[in-house]
């Protein structure tokens, strides 16, 4: 039981890192990235390939994964920066699917749909599975904590303030002399870096990756984690990630108590419950579990434009 809970905490921690990353572009800058699983995949493959094929150290692989994902993020941002929000959403979704198709077909590099197995993990094999889990939880915990602190500092920094200005009104930010494109590209790169690192963490934890892992459903979970936790809010992102994993897992334990159903019907009920709970969570927590706190003393709001009488 403990081992299971620890493993789920590792999963939730990886989700949390992704949610923190996405918060930078979505929560701060207001850009919708529905292809986050693509950057997650890039990181996972980068670190896995470097450690398996080039025999890099795990830490080196993870660092490289972070950088590679950031670069890919910057390129994607450069291509898509002119697009309006909902178009950006669909283009990024397409980007993630394209990554998956390439990973399935570029067999010489990624081993195709067979996937890559035997990805090393810190102490795997020498430690007992329980100890390995604990060690990994500690690693993930530290990384999430660092990401959290960095996000918070980013938010309070002038850079973060510009991002939020862009989110609230791009034109105003541009008029104020900010190079909007540059800021967006930087935000995307930072966000993708976190996603890539999360991918590397996932790869070294489970020791196996394959294109089938990187499906849009995972993107949905992270988006929901963020919305449930309160968009733009870093503590909320972490709480939301844990809430989503909790929801995914707890529904498992309910199904055996529904009498007279086939296994398929049980699975259908479980997925229905997950979707329904997510809807309820979204609906009744429009500001999320943890609402966004203003980082500075609130300035009196500018009077809204009122039509003159």
């Amino acid at each position: 039981m403990e081992n299971y809970l620890i493993a789920m905490c590792v999963s939730a921690g990886i989700y949390a890192l992704m949610a923190l990353g996405v918060n930078v572009v979505w929560g701060f800058a207001g850009m919708v990235n529905l292809g986050l699983v693509g950057f997650f995949a890039v990181g996972a493959y980068a670190s896995a390939l470097l450690t398996i094929k080039a025999h890099w150290a795990i830490a080196g692989g993870m660092a490289a994964a972070t950088i590679v994902a950031a670069l890919v993020g910057a390129v994607v941002a450069l291509i898509t920066v002119r697009l309006r929000g909902d178009y950006l959403a669909i283009v990024t979704l397409g980007f993630a699917e394209t990554i998956r198709i390439v990973a399935s077909n570029a067999i010489w590099l990624t081993n195709g749909t067979d996937g890559l197995s035997g990805i090393p993990g810190p102490g795997r094999g020498t430690l007992s599975p329980e100890m390995f889990n604990l060690v990994y939880l500690a690693i993930v915990g530290v990384i999430v904590a660092i990401a959290y602190v960095m996000n918070e500092r980013l938010r309070a920094s002038p850079f973060g303030r510009v991002l939020r200005a862009i989110r609230d009104d791009e034109q105003v930010a541009a008029v104020a002399g900010k190079h909007v494109t540059l800021f967006k590209v930087k935000a995307f790169a930072i966000s993708s870096a976190a996603l890539g690192l999360a991918g590397a963490l996932y790869a070294h934890y489970t020791s196996y990756i394959a294109p089938d892992i990187f499906v849009p459903l995972l993107t949905l979970y992270i988006k929901l984690a963020l919305l449930a936790g309160g968009l733009g809010n870093d503590r909320g992102a972490i709480v939301g990630a844990f809430a989503v994993v909790f929801l995914l897992e707890s529904t498992r334990f309910v199904i055996p108590y529904v009498p007279g159903i086939t296994p398929v019907q049980g699975a259908a009920i479980r997925e229905f419950l997950i979707a329904a709970f997510l809807l309820v969570m979204l609906r009744y927590k429009p500001t999320g579990l943890v609402p966004e706190q203003p980082t500075r003393l609130p300035v009196p709001p500018a009077p809204r434009y009122q039509p003159t009488a």
Partner: protein, 402 residues
């Protein structure tokens, strides 16, 4: 101001906590009960959702029979079914639950190769036995320390035998259409090799994308090679589309597919003229396989397909291995499985029959519905025959077993 949003949060956390306790506590109580729990991890949703339920049902049928005859080690068996969702990430979480919470000695039923490859390390690290249908050659080469068996013949064996059969039918020009999956490439190259040896020829191959609404252009591409047999190496949803498109294109040659891609249900969903003459193949023990006949009766299916027969064999093998080991542990199953399914013991064709003989202290050799169930060191089946059926008027007719 901060008060209002906190209130719902607390309520949410409280209800979440209640859900957790409500869910977990009885599970713990149950685990201490009498029943012997075995894990089932088949895809019930996602792309494999078509095949997983049939496998779960076939395992349940065997377990019901065992329970009806006194159970195992004096205990009733309960199958704990989790949904693999045809997704390695979700399946790993489900396997964690089966291993760490339910503490099952065996997990049966992984389908997609990616799911099996993802779950296998958890299994061998926790000394849990895993049985699978996944075809990727890489799977049995994993360092699984014996904690994995695969009843599905590997690509090399399958493709070779299928090609021999195809050549023996007098086919001169064979074309292979494969879905993008780990088995696509190795099956193509091995079949090409054997066809050539046998005086036939592979005139072309193509790998198609799943989830398309039509394969008209792919069919055109295949027909341009002018084949007299097309090997449709995919799953039911896409093979259904291919059969329709081949019919529309006026293709009159032979079509060859795995039994799991053209099942009884698939025959029901298509007009008879579309499926007429399709040849299906599945691993099998022999023409008169008592285990296959028993599976037919148990499942109430005219011709159980390859996945149903393999699922039948997992439930039987695991039950017998536990009985032989006299202890329901993964290591026990690993150490005793080969002593109940191969060797010189008395041949048995069902779990119940085998359990009776084991209780009398006799040695047994389980012969399954999907083949003789003899395994190599690395968990592959050593050899098997294949059962070839032909579709006539919407029904399967046995062609031969070879």
């Amino acid at each position: 101001m901060p008060q209002t949003p906190r209130e719902p949060r607390r309520r949410f956390l409280a209800s979440a906590g209640a859900l957790a306790l409500g869910g977990l506590a009885p599970a713990l109580v149950r685990a201490q009960g009498e029943a012997l729990q075995l894990g089932v991890l088949t895809p019930l949703t996602g792309a494999g959702g078509f095949d997983g339920p049939r496998m779960a049902k076939a395992m349940q049928a065997v377990i019901d029979e065992v329970n009806g005859n006194g159970g195992l080690l004096g205990r009733k068996i309960v199958l704990v079914v989790e949904d693999g969702q045809t997704n390695p990430e979700a399946a790993v979480r489900a396997a964690r639950k089966l291993i760490d919470v339910t503490k099952v000695p065996a997990i049966m039923g992984t389908w997609a190769s990616a799911v099996t490859s993802a779950v296998a390390p958890l299994c061998w690290e926790s000394k849990t036995f895993l049985t699978t249908v996944s075809g990727a050659d890489s799977i049995t080469k994993l360092p699984h320390q014996g904690y994995l068996i695969r009843t599905q013949p590997n690509n090399h064996l399958q493709a070779g035998k299928h090609a021999e059969f195809i050549a023996s039918m007098g086919v001169k020009r064979c074309f292979m259409m494969s879905i993008q999956a780990p088995f696509a490439q190795p099956t193509q190259s091995r079949a090409t090799e054997v066809l050539k040896e046998k005086g036939s020829q592979m005139v072309g191959t193509l790998i198609y994308d799943k989830d398309k609404t039509t394969y008209r252009s792919e069919v055109d591409q295949a027909l341009r090679a002018n084949p007299d047999l097309i090997y449709l190496n995919g799953y039911a949803p896409d093979v259904t589309i291919l059969l329709r498109d081949l019919y529309r294109a006026g293709y009159g040659g032979k079509r060859f597919a795995q039994s799991y891609a053209v099942t009884t249900k698939v025959l029901d969903s298509l007009p008879h003229e579309v499926t007429e003459g399709v040849i299906t193949v599945q691993p099998s023990a022999d023409v008169t396989s008592p285990a296959y006949e028993l599976a037919k009766k148990r499942l109430g299916v005219a011709e159980p397909d390859s996945y149903e027969t393999q699922a039948t064999d997992w439930a039987s093998l695991v039950s017998l291995a536990i009985a032989k080991a006299k202890t329901p542990t993964g290591t026990g199953i690993r150490d005793s499985v080969r002593s109940i399914c191969q060797g010189s013991g008395q041949k048995v064709y069902s779990a119940v029959e085998g359990l009776k003989l084991l209780a009398q202290g006799k040695d047994i050799n389980y012969e399954g519905a999907s083949g003789p169930c003899d395994f190599t060191e690395i968990g592959d089946i050593t050899d098997c025959k294949f059962r070839y059926n032909k579709v006539e008027n919407g029904k399967f007719v046995l062609l031969k077993v070879a």
